[in-house]
């Protein structure tokens, strides 16, 4: 999880089935042709999935999946941030602290989807 500035980011081992399902889902996503900058602000930025011993990575954030393979990056559209949510949920139960953090992030993703309340 790409979130911290000072402390090392939390990480957990992804279940093989969750990983394969994720790859399957990504293969069905539409691609984005525009150049999308990855978030780099303070706070939660996204999730980085790396295979042990491999240089390739998958970065999931803000409704996009960045698949880096052999030096080439393909960007997919993660509608409703479904893949991001599933991956976040895979970390629940790893530790109390991580579970609390993930619940907070999931809540903030839900809040961001809600339409802004009117004052009138």
């Amino acid at each position: 999880m790409d979130i911290y500035s000072g402390q090392p980011n939390p990480r957990w081992k992804l279940d093989k089935k969750v990983f394969q399902d994720m790859l399957e889902e990504i293969s069905h996503l539409a691609t984005e042709n525009k150049l999308i900058p990855r978030p780099n602000q303070l706070g939660y930025r996204g999730l980085r999935v790396v295979m042990v011993g491999e240089h390739e990575e998958i970065y999931i954030c803000g409704g996009y999946v960045f698949l880096c393979y052999k030096g080439l990056e393909t960007i997919f559209i993660d509608g409703g941030q479904q893949i991001e949510r599933k991956l976040l949920k895979s970390g629940i139960g790893m530790s109390d602290q991580l579970s609390a953090l993930i619940s907070q992030i999931l809540q903030s993703l839900d809040d961001a989807r809600l339409p802004a309340k009117s004052n009138s």
């Binding site: 790409d2 911290y4 500035s5 000072g6 980011n9 953090l101």
Partner: protein, 307 residues
């Protein structure tokens, strides 16, 4: 023979010196002709107030021919030219000015004023080379000073913002965090306050993380470091207090007046979470890092100690 104009004033005409032909002058022109990257055709557009550089005007075509130089050219100081030898040439030119004669000096200018001016130029050059600045205790805090052993003013170093050093190499980018950036020291270990000195923080709170950094050798602001601890950077620390999200973060002040930072393994930058250039780490948008813990000075032994 040539005229050197020291480019430093805003309102008054810049002071000029007439330099007679001499072995020293020829040696300087010879070096200049072999180091052409320090020569500009005119004042760089980004030059601001203060000592900016020198205009050189050759008065006969023979010197220009011998050294293959234009009849007039400009030598900016290093911070404008970005050339590491610029200030060395500036020192040579000031030495020539000392041997030369003031040209078209105003009637009210005295000989001692000239000496003071040359001394000022040398001082400015020295400060520009080291990037040293005075960090003044604000007036309203001076009254409280008697309660603590703090100074009214400390010398610090402010270095130019150089994000490429941190961002261009993937290994450097990923394995160095905000504490590395604040210390301006790449360890590739995601350095933690206090780990290098054996007293790593045991809680992510302002006092605990500060204690780790102080153990590494940082000082609170206005607790001055001596010159032999250069570079002495001004840094600021903040904490995300939770619940849930708990972390710390550091910023470092740069020569340009703004603050730089590096959020974890992401790119170093000088903007906050709103995309605004950071001129005040206390008031900028810091996302969840809502507690401002204070300002500190880093120093050379501290940065060597971090792990």
């Amino acid at each position: 023979m040539l005229i050197i104009t020291a480019d430093l004033f805003s309102g008054r005409p810049n002071p000029q010196w007439l330099i007679e032909d001499s072995p020293e002058l020829r040696a300087t022109l010879g070096l200049l002709s072999s180091e052409r990257n320090v020569i500009f055709s005119e004042t760089p557009s980004e030059a601001g107030l203060g000592f900016r550089g020198f205009k050189i005007e050759l008065l006969d075509d023979h010197l220009a021919y011998q050294f293959d130089l234009n009849s007039s050219f400009y030598i900016p100081l290093e911070h404008l030219s970005k050339h590491w030898r610029s200030n060395e040439f500036a020192e040579r030119l000031i030495a020539l000015m000392r041997q030369g004669k003031r040209y078209e000096a105003q009637d009210f200018e005295k000989k001692e004023d000239e000496e003071a001016l040359l001394k000022y130029l040398i001082e400015q050059l020295s400060l520009a080379s080291t990037g040293s600045f005075q960090d003044h205790l604000p007036e309203e805090q001076k009254a409280e000073k008697i309660l603590e052993p703090l100074s009214h003013v400390c010398w610090i170093e402010l270095w130019p913002f150089n994000p490429g050093f941190w961002n261009n190499d993937q290994n450097t980018l990923r394995n160095n965090n905000c504490y590395n950036y604040a210390s301006n020291w790449r360890t590739n270990t995601f350095a933690q306050p206090g780990r290098g000195s054996g007293h790593m923080y045991s809680a992510v709170t302002c006092p605990a993380v500060s204690s780790g950094a102080l153990s590494d050798g940082m000082h609170h602001r206005y607790d001055c470091f001596p010159d032999n601890e250069k570079p002495r950077f001004l840094v600021a620390m903040v904490v995300a207090p939770g619940p849930g999200f708990v972390d710390y973060h550091w910023y470092r002040k740069h020569k340009e007046g703004f603050w730089g930072h590096k959020p974890g393994g992401t790119q170093a930058r000088n903007v906050d979470n709103s995309g605004n250039v950071i001129f005040d780490p206390q008031t900028c948008n810091r996302g969840p890092y809502t507690q401002f813990c204070g300002y500190f000075y880093g120093c050379n032994s501290q940065r060597h100690r971090i792990r």
